[in-house]
Amino acid sequence: MSVPQGMEFFIDPSRCIGCQACYHACAECDTHPGESMIHLEYVDRETSPQTVPVVCMHCEDPACARVCPADAIKKTPDGIVQSALQSRCIGCSNCVLACPFGVPRYVARIDQMMKCDMCYDRTSAGMKPMCASVCPSGALAYGRRDEVLELRRERPADVFLFGPQAVRTRVQLMVPAGSPEVEMDVAAFMARGR
């Protein structure tokens, strides 16, 4: 069982209305009941109510798996970076510190790392991830690229620059249509924001 080819995940933070439907839908999943794998972050809470849903970007070369000393994080052939293998994870939080997107979370109650695996139990069976199935504004969308792009002005980006390092992801971030480059220079963007 694997995620069907051509099915992609799109995040469009400009559409996020902060309703937390994704957050609660994630926590309803039976594989991790009560524990949400999605983070709803405020961009700049002091000045704006704008929120951003953060799900795992499923990097081509995942930093979380590279730094894991227990060899607990694995990537399946369909490009999904799985959550930590329960029997191997030692709860060291290396992945939590290494992830450039801040996705993995250490859950002290079970002494394990837990992270979004794009609802592998659902997507590998041909269903949408929980969050994408409940998002009312389309900030989280799951489907075929041509179907999604037909309805949107934005363009998908999947390369993120952290200083000199480029991280390519499976999950697509929708950027404004007029953006000259598709790559996102995250470090420069953060420096400009200060």
């Binding site: 995942p62 798996a65 590279r66 894991c68 694995k74 990537k75 399946t76 052939p77 293998l85």
Partner: protein, 160 residues
């Protein structure tokens, strides 16, 4: 692969390159191993049930009148194994492998005590059925099956 650093090769992040054994796979392997053992045992059992034991040659041992009552005669059977034939009574003949079941010394017949005695460690067997009377042996002497054909005694098998 040559330019892949050793630490990346040793700790692959791709699911299939790693030897992850899931609980389901482990359980499946247990089930298959169990089935295979069952089938192998069943095959062995099926082969054993129909098969006959080892075939023994039929050898003439002695004439019935050759031995006096209380006498003994050593012969070889089935493959150069030394055996001993005893005449316990006028009509009672028995034969055993002569090798003591303790450490293999040859036993000898003691007509007065009706036993077969081993000189090495004083093992003692009953002369009529070969069971252990005393000493270190833990198993009885294997018995040679005798058949009477007219006036002759023939060895036709060995019963452990």
């Amino acid at each position: 692969m040559a330019d892949t650093p050793a630490w990346k090769a040793d700790f692959p992040i791709d699911w299939h390159d790693d030897h992850v054994v899931t609980r389901r796979e482990f359980t499946r392997s247990l089930a298959w191993t169990s089935c295979a053992s069952f089938l192998a045992t069943a095959a062995l059992a099926a082969g054993t049930i129909g098969a006959r034991g080892p075939r023994f040659p039929e050898t003439r041992v002695a004439g019935a009148g050759e031995l006096p009552v209380g006498g003994a005669k050593v012969f070889v059977y089935p493959n150069d194994e030394p055996c001993v034939l005893l005449r316990l009574d006028a009509d009672v003949f028995v034969a055993f492998l002569q090798r003591c079941t303790h450490l293999g010394c040859p036993v000898s017949y003691e007509a007065g005590r009706q036993t077969l005695e081993c000189p090495c460690h004083e093992g003692s067997f009953r002369a009529d059925d070969g069971t252990v009377v005393a000493g270190p042996p833990s198993r009885p002497l294997p018995r040679v099956v005798l058949q009477r054909r007219g006036g002759e005694l023939w060895a036709v098998g060995v019963r452990p």
